[in-house]
C-alpha cells in the first residue's frame, strides 16, 4: 500500500527510460552528437593549412548560447578563426550565427544578421550593454575586438567604433565577460589578453624542411611577453572607457590570460573577477566596492595548484558543488595537469580540493571548456569538461599522434559527499568521440528540462550534444530580467530551496573557455515537485522571495515584479 502511494506521489515517469542504469537509482545520460542533423554544418577554421607552426593556430574556439531574437529558444554563435594562407574572395571563414528553428534544427543566419566577418576570432560573450532587452554580442580577436549591437530585428550592427571599444593597436584578446562592477545598472566589460600580439606568429615548432639540422623551438607561451587584462566602464550612453589603470586591473603582473569568470566569490554582493591564466598564476580580482579591485589570487589560494605550481589554465566556471552557499571554482588546465577544484572556505579563501574530490584523473588531454551543471537534475552540480589536443588529429603529424583519450569529453557525477565520479565512458557516444575541442556552452537547447552542450572544434564541425536519456528528476529554469539592475540581470543571484537543499547560481557572462552559456539558470530539483522557496538577490542588494514555485518549467522573474511569465516544457 505504501509502495503504491509512493509511486503515485511521484511525478510522471518519462516515456523513455534512462539509456544505461546500473541500478534502479543510478541514472546515466546519453549524450549524442546531433550537430550535423541540426544543421551546424560550418567548419571552424583555425590555421587554414595543414600544419600548425604558430601559437596562434592553437587557440580560439569560443562559442555562445543565447536567445538573440527573444523567441525563448537558444540560438548558437560560433567564433571562427582564420589562416595564414589567402582564402578565395567570398570564401573567407567567418563567425556563424545559427537560429533555433524550434524543431531540433538550426538555420545559419550569419549573413542576414550582418555577422559575417573574417579574422582570427578567439572568444565571445553576451550582454545587454544598452539595456534595450536584446542581447548584444562581443567577439574577441587576435587583432581588434568587435561589439555587435542587437538591433532587435534579427540583425546586428558593429558598434565597436562608436562605443569607443575599437582598439588602437592589435592585441591577442582572448576571453571576455560583461559585468556591472560598480552596480550602476550598466554593463561594463572585462577582456582578458593572452601573450603579446607579436608572439602570435612566433615559430612554434621546428620546420620539417630543416631535417638534420637544429632549429629553434618555442615551448608554449613561456618566455613570451605577457599581456594585461582590460576593464571597460560603461558610460551609460552607449560608450565605454578603459578604466584598467584606475580600477587596479592593470596593476597585476603581465600574464597569459584566457578566460575570465565573474562571480561574487565572497558573498558581499559585488562581482569579483577570476581569470584562468596559461602557465602563469591565475588571478582573482576582489571588488573593493569603491570602483577598484585588488588582486588576491595567491592569498586566496586560487592562483596555483596545491603545491604552488603554476598551471596552464584554460577554462573556468564557478558553482556551489557542495551546497554550502559559497561559489567554488573549477579550472581546466593543460595536459599532464589535473583540473583544479578550489573549494570556497567562506572567509575569502579557498583550498585546493582537486585530489580530495577525486578529480586527479583525466590528465592526458588539454582541457578547455567546462561547467558546473546538473546533468541528472538531482540538485547537485556535476562537472563537464571538453578536451582537445593542441594539434587536431590528422594535422601536424610530426607533432606526434594524439593519445586515444585526447579529445574526448569528461563527465564527472557529483556523489554528494564532496567527491566526484568519472562517468565519461557511460555518458553516451557523444562523449567518447574524439575531437579537437575548445569552447563549450551549456543550456537547455531543446527545451527538455535537461542541459545540452554545444562545442566549438578546431578545423571541424561543431559538436551539439543532446542528452537523449530523460532524467527522472524535476527541474526549474529561471530567467531574470533586471530593471534597476542591468536588464540581463548579469551578476544577480538566485537561491532555490527544494527537498531541504539550497542551491545558488548567478547569471553570468563569459566563462567556460572564452564562451557564453545560457543566461537562464537551470536547477535540478530531484524528486521535488516544486521549489519551496526561490530567492532572488538582484545585483544592487535588492532581494525578492518567491515561494512554492512549481517544478519543470521556465519562470521569468522581473526585478520588483516577481514572476512575469512561465512556460512549462
Amino acid at each position: 500500500m505504501l509502495f503504491r502511494l509512493g509511486l503515485c506521489s511521484l511525478p510522471p515517469f518519462p516515456l523513455l527510460l534512462p539509456a544505461k542504469t546500473g541500478s534502479e537509482d543510478e541514472y546515466f545520460p546519453n549524450y549524442v552528437d546531433v550537430a550535423l542533423q541540426a544543421g551546424l554544418t560550418a567548419r571552424t577554421v583555425i590555421a587554414g593549412h595543414e600544419s600548425k607552426d604558430f601559437l596562434l593556430s592553437t587557440t580560439g574556439g569560443g562559442i555562445a548560447l543565447f536567445d538573440y531574437d527573444n523567441d525563448g529558444w537558444l540560438d548558437i554563435f560560433v567564433v571562427n578563426g582564420s589562416g595564414l594562407a589567402r582564402f578565395p574572395k567570398g570564401e573567407e571563414p567567418t563567425n556563424h550565427l545559427y537560429r533555433n528553428n524550434h524543431d531540433g534544427t538550426f538555420t545559419d543566419v550569419t549573413a542576414k544578421a550582418n555577422l559575417a566577418r573574417s579574422g582570427w576570432g578567439q572568444g565571445v560573450c553576451v550582454g545587454d550593454y544598452n539595456n534595450d532587452g536584446f542581447l548584444d554580442l562581443f567577439v574577441t580577436y587576435y587583432g581588434k575586438n568587435v561589439l555587435y549591437r542587437n538591433n532587435g530585428d534579427g540583425t546586428f550592427t558593429d558598434v565597436t567604433r562608436e562605443s569607443r571599444l575599437l582598439q588602437l593597436e592589435d592585441h591577442w584578446n582572448s576571453g571576455a565577460a560583461f559585468l556591472d562592477y560598480d552596480r550602476d545598472g550598466h554593463l561594463d566589460l572585462f577582456v582578458s589578453n593572452y601573450v603579446a600580439d607579436e608572439s602570435g606568429l612566433a615559430l612554434y615548432d621546428s620546420d620539417p624542411s630543416l631535417v638534420g639540422v637544429q632549429s629553434p623551438v618555442l615551448h608554449g607561451p613561456a618566455g613570451l611577453q605577457g599581456s594585461k587584462n582590460i576593464l571597460y566602464h560603461n558610460n551609460g550612453d552607449g560608450t565605454f572607457a578603459d578604466v584598467s589603470k584606475a580600477t587596479g586591473i592593470a596593476n597585476s603582473d603581465a600574464a597569459y590570460g584566457f578566460t575570465p569568470c565573474v562571480a561574487d566569490y565572497d558573498n558581499d554582493g559585488w562581482p569579483d573577477i577570476y581569470v584562468a591564466n596559461d602557465s602563469t598564476p591565475s588571478l582573482l580580482f576582489k571588488n573593493n566596492r569603491n570602483g577598484t579591485f585588488t588582486e588576491v589570487g595567491l592569498l586566496a589560494g586560487v592562483a596555483v595548484d596545491e603545491n604552488g605550481g603554476s598551471q596552464g589554465g584554460m577554462g573556468v566556471d564557478t558553482g556551489d558543488y557542495d551546497g554550502d552557499g559559497l561559489l567554488d571554482i573549477i579550472k581546466t588546465n593543460y595536459s599532464d595537469q589535473t583540473t583544479s577544484l578550489y573549494h570556497n572556505q567562506g572567509n575569502g579563501f579557498f583550498s585546493d580540493r582537486t585530489f580530495q574530490a577525486g578529480l586527479s584523473g583525466q590528465t592526458s588531454s588539454v582541457k578547455w571548456g567546462t561547467a558546473f551543471f546538473d546533468f541528472d537534475n538531482d540538485g547537485q552540480l556535476d562537472v563537464f569538461i571538453v578536451t582537445g589536443a593542441i594539434y587536431p588529429p590528422g594535422l601536424g603529424g610530426r607533432h606526434g599522434k594524439p593519445k586515444e583519450e585526447e579529445g574526448k569529453k569528461i563527465l564527472y557525477r557529483n556523489l554528494g559527499n564532496g567527491r566526484f565520479q568519472d562517468i565519461s565512458a557511460r555518458g553516451g557516444p557523444g562523449l567518447v568521440s574524439p575531437r579537437c575541442s575548445r569552447g563549450a556552452a551549456f543550456g537547455d537547447i531543446f527545451r527538455t528540462g535537461q542541459i545540452d552542450v554545444v562545442i566549438n572544434n578546431l578545423n571541424d564541425f561543431p559538436t551539439l550534444l543532446r542528452n537523449q536519456s530523460p532524467s527522472p528528476n524535476s527541474w526549474l529554469l529561471v530567467r531574470l530580467v533586471g530593471t534597476r539592475a542591468n536588464r540581463a540581470a548579469i551578476g544577480s543571484r538566485v537561491i532555490v530551496e527544494a527537498e531541504g537543499r539550497r542551491q545558488i547560481q548567478e547569471v553570468r557572462s563569459g566563462g567556460s573557455f572564452c564562451s557564453q552559456s545560457d543566461f537562464r539558470l537551470h536547477f535540478g530539483l530531484g524528486r521535488a515537485r516544486e521549489a519551496t522557496r526561490v530567492t532572488i538577490k538582484w545585483l544592487g542588494d535588492r532581494q525578492e522571495i518567491l515561494e512554492h514555485v512549481p517544478a519543470n518549467r521556465l519562470v521569468v522573474i522581473q526585478e520588483g515584479k516577481g514572476i512575469v511569465g512561465q512556460e512549462k516544457f
Binding site: V213, Q214, G223, N307, G308, S335, T363, R419
Partner: protein, 622 residues
C-alpha cells in the same frame, strides 16, 4: 667532469709519495771487540776489517776464513764474515753467518740487528721486522733496533705503528739525522705536519747531496701540508738544484709553484733534459690542471711528437686547446686523430666539443661513434642518450637509455634517464616503473630519488596498484634508508588523499616521522610531513614542519607556499603574506630561469624514426 677526471687519472700515476729508503747496516765493532777475544783473533779481525774498509772484501774474507778455521765460534769473526759476504752479494752465506752470531750470542741485539738489516735489503720486510723485534725483546732500548724497526714499519705504510719506535729512538738520540728524518716522514704521513716540522728543524741537512735533496723534499712535503706553498716551492727548488736530473722532484716543484697562483711559475727552471713522452704528458697535465694551458699545450705537443699514437696526449691537448679558446683546433686535432686511430674516448670528447660549439647533430654522431667503438662502456651510452635528452629529442633518447639499461642494469642513472625520457613522452606509468627500477638498483641514488619525487601526484595515483607493492617492498628492504622509506610514505599519503581514504594516513605519518629521524636534514621529508599534518588539520604541527623544511631549503617554493596557506588558514595574515611574497619571488626567478634554459635549448629534427627496435638491439640510434 670528463676533463677533470682525465687529468686526475694521469696525475695519480706520478704523485705517489717520494720515498727515501735508508738501509740499516751497522758495524758494531766496538761491541765485538769487547767480547774478550784472544789477541791473535783480534788482530785477524782488525786486519780483515781494514781490508774491508780499503775496498778489498775478497782479501778480508780470506783473512776471516783463516781465523775462523782456528776459532769457528768466534762471534766477532762470524759477524764480520756476514758483513763481508753481504757486501759481496753472497746473501745466503751472510744470513748463515748472522744466524750463527745469534746462536753464539742469543741475548745480544747485534746479531739480530745485522740479520734484520740483511733481510730487509733482501726485500723480506716481514722477516726483518720480526728479527728487529727479537733484538728489542733482548735489548728494549737498542737504538739500532728501534730505528730499524721504525723505518721498516714506516716504509710499509704503517706509520702509526712506526711512530713509538722512532720516537723512542729520537728520545735517546735527539738530533740523529736518520731517526729524525724517519720520524718526520712518519709524522708527515700521519698528517701531523706541525710536529714533523719541529722534528726536522732539529736535524741538520746532511752534506751528501742525494740525502740532502731528500731532506729538502721532505721539508717541502711538510710545507705543502701546512699550506705554506712558498716554503714548499723553495725547498723543492733546493732539492731540484741538488738533483737536476730528478723528474719527480721537478714535477713536485712545478706543482707547488703553480699552487702559489702567482706569476712565480714563470721563473721555474727548465725540466730535466730528455724527458720521455710520459713525462711530457705528466707535466702537461700538471700545467693544464692549474690552468696554465699554453705551457701545457707545448708539453702535450712534444708528447705527440715523441709518441704520435698517444691518444691520451691527443685527448689532453684537445682539452687544453679548448680551454685556451681554440675549440676549432681541438676539434681538428681530434678529427685528425680519430681518422688515423679511431678511439671511443676521443670521439666522446669530440662530441662534447661539438656540443659546446652548438653543432648538436655532429655531437650526437660522435657520441654514437664512441658507443660503437666501445659498447662496453656505460659512460658513452649515457652521454649519447643524455645528448638527445637535453635537446628534447625524446624518442631516440628513450631508445638509447632503454638499450643501455638492459646492457648495464646496475646503472641507476641509466634507469633515471630512461624514466625521464618516458616522462617527457608522457608515458607516465612507464616512467614511474622505470624510476622504481632506479630506486631498486640504488636506493641511495640522489638522481633516482629526485626523479621519483618529481613525478606528479596524479601519476602516482594512477599507477598505484602497480607500484604500491614495489614501494612497500623497497621500504621493507631498506628500512634504515630514508629515501626508500620516504618514497613509500609519500606515495601512500598522496594515494590516500586522492582516493578519499584515510586508513593509510597513520602509516604514512609514522613513516615520514621515521624518515626525519633517520635523516633530519631531508627537507622534502619535513615538507611532506607538514602536508600530512595540514591534511589532518593539525595546523601547528604543519607550521613547524614547513618551517623546518624552509630552514633546510630556503629556496623551496612549495614549502613557502604551503606555509603561507597554513598561516592564512590560521588567520596569521602578515606571516602568510610574507611567505607568499617569498614564494612569489622564488617562483618568478624559477620561471625566468626556465625560460632562459628553454631558450638555450636546440632540438634535433630527425629525418626519420631510425630508432626502430630491430636496428637498436646492439646499436644506439642515428
Amino acid at each position: 667532469m670528463l676533463v677533470r677526471k682525465s687529468f686526475e687519472a694521469v696525475l695519480s700515476c706520478y704523485f705517489r709519495p717520494i720515498v727515501l729508503a735508508f738501509l740499516v747496516v751497522t758495524v758494531p765493532c766496538a761491541l765485538l771487540k769487547s767480547q774478550g777475544n784472544p789477541a791473535n783473533t783480534s788482530s785477524a779481525y782488525d786486519r780483515a776489517f781494514q781490508l774491508l774498509q780499503a775496498g778489498q772484501p775478497d782479501a778480508a774474507l780470506a783473512e776471516i776464513d783463516t781465523a775462523l778455521a782456528r776459532e769457528p765460534d768466534n762471534p766477532s769473526l762470524n759477524n764480520l764474515r756476514g758483513l763481508v759476504t753481504a757486501k759481496l752479494g753472497r746473501s745466503a752465506e751472510a744470513e748463515a753467518s748472522f744466524r750463527k752470531v745469534i746462536r753464539l750470542l742469543p741475548h745480544a741485539a747485534m746479531g739480530y740487528n745485522n740479520l734484520a738489516a740483511l733481510l730487509w735489503r733482501l726485500g723480506r720486510s716481514d722477516d726483518a721486522a720480526k728479527t728487529f723485534r727479537q733484538a728489542l725483546s733482548e735489548e728494549p732500548h737498542n737504538f739500532t733496533a728501534l730505528v730499524g724497526l721504525g723505518t721498516i714499519l714506516a716504509e710499509s705504510r704503517k706509520s702509526a705503528d712506526a711512530l713509538p719506535y722512532l720516537e723512542k729512538a729520537w728520545g735517546s738520540q735527539p738530533g740523529d739525522f736518520q731517526t729524525g728524518y724517519e720520524l718526520a716522514r712518519s709524522l708527515t704521513e700521519l698528517k701531523k705536519a706541525g710536529e714533523a716540522q719541529k722534528v726536522l728543524a732539529r736535524v741538520a741537512p746532511p752534506q751528501d747531496s742525494a740525502t740532502r735533496a731528500k731532506f729538502y723534499v721532505l721539508s717541502a712535503e711538510i710545507a705543502e701540508q701546512l699550506a705554506d706553498q712558498p716554503a714548499a716551492s723553495r725547498d723543492y727548488r733546493r732539492a731540484y738544484d741538488l738533483t737536476p736530473q730528478s723528474f719527480e722532484i721537478y714535477l713536485a716543484l712545478v706543482r707547488s709553484t703553480l699552487a702559489m697562483r702567482d706569476p712565480s711559475w714563470r721563473q721555474l727552471p727548465p725540466p730535466p733534459a730528455g724527458l720521455s713522452p710520459e713525462q711530457h704528458l705528466a707535466l702537461g697535465v700538471m700545467l693544464a690542471s692549474s690552468g696554465t694551458y699554453s705551457e701545457a699545450i707545448s708539453h702535450f705537443q712534444q708528447t705527440l711528437q715523441l709518441q704520435p699514437t698517444s691518444h691520451l696526449a691527443a685527448y689532453n691537448l684537445a682539452l687544453a686547446y679548448k680551454e685556451e679558446g681554440k675549440s676549432q683546433a681541438a676539434i681538428e686535432l681530434l678529427e685528425h686523430t680519430v681518422d688515423q686511430q679511431p678511439n671511443a674516448e676521443l670521439y666522446d670528447l669530440q662530441a662534447s666539443l661539438e656540443e659546446d660549439a652548438g653543432r648538436y647533430v655532429q655531437a650526437v654522431r660522435h657520441y654514437q661513434s664512441a658507443v660503437d667503438l666501445d659498447p662496453g662502456n656505460e659512460q658513452y651510452y649515457f652521454d649519447l642518450a643524455a645528448e638527445y635528452l637535453v635537446h628534447l629529442t625524446f624518442g631516440p633518447a628513450l631508445e638509447v637509455f632503454r638499450v643501455a639499461s638492459q646492457k648495464f642494469p646496475a646503472s641507476a642513472r641509466l634507469h633515471v634517464g630512461e624514466g625521464l625520457a618516458q616522462f617527457a613522452l608522457r608515458q607516465y606509468g612507464d616512467a614511474a616503473d622505470t624510476f622504481m627500477d632506479a630506486l631498486e638498483t640504488d636506493p641511495t641514488s640522489p638522481d633516482a630519488f629526485l626523479a621519483w619525487n618529481a613525478l606528479p601526484t596524479f601519476v602516482i595515483v594512477a599507477a598505484w596498484e602497480k607500484i604500491q607493492p614495489r614501494l612497500r617492498h623497497l621500504a621493507g628492504r631498506f628500512p634504515e634508508n630514508p629515501q626508500a622509506v620516504f618514497c613509500y610514505a609519500s606515495a601512500l599519503f598522496r594515494q590516500n588523499v586522492a582516493s578519499g581514504q584515510s586508513d593509510g594516513l597513520d602509516l604514512a605519518q609514522s613513516l615520514l616521522g621515521k624518515v626525519v629521524r633517520l635523516n633530519p636534514r631531508m627537507a622534502v621529508a619535513h615538507l611532506e610531513l607538514g602536508a600530512v599534518y595540514a591534511e589532518r588539520q593539525q595546523s601547528e604541527k604543519a607550521v613547524a614542519s614547513f618551517l623546518e623544511a624552509i630552514r633546510l631549503d630556503p629556496n623551496s617554493e612549495m614549502a613557502h607556499y604551503k606555509l603561507g596557506q597554513i598561516y592564512r588558514d590560521l588567520n596569521q595574515l602578515t606571516l602568510a603574506e610574507r611567505e607568499l611574497d617569498l614564494y612569489r619571488k622564488l617562483s618568478r626567478n624559477h620561471r625566468d630561469q626556465m625560460v632562459r634554459n628553454r631558450r638555450a635549448i636546440r632540438q634535433f629534427v630527425l629525418a626519420k624514426p631510425a630508432y626502430d627496435s630491430a636496428s637498436t638491439k646492439e646499436k644506439a640510434p642515428l
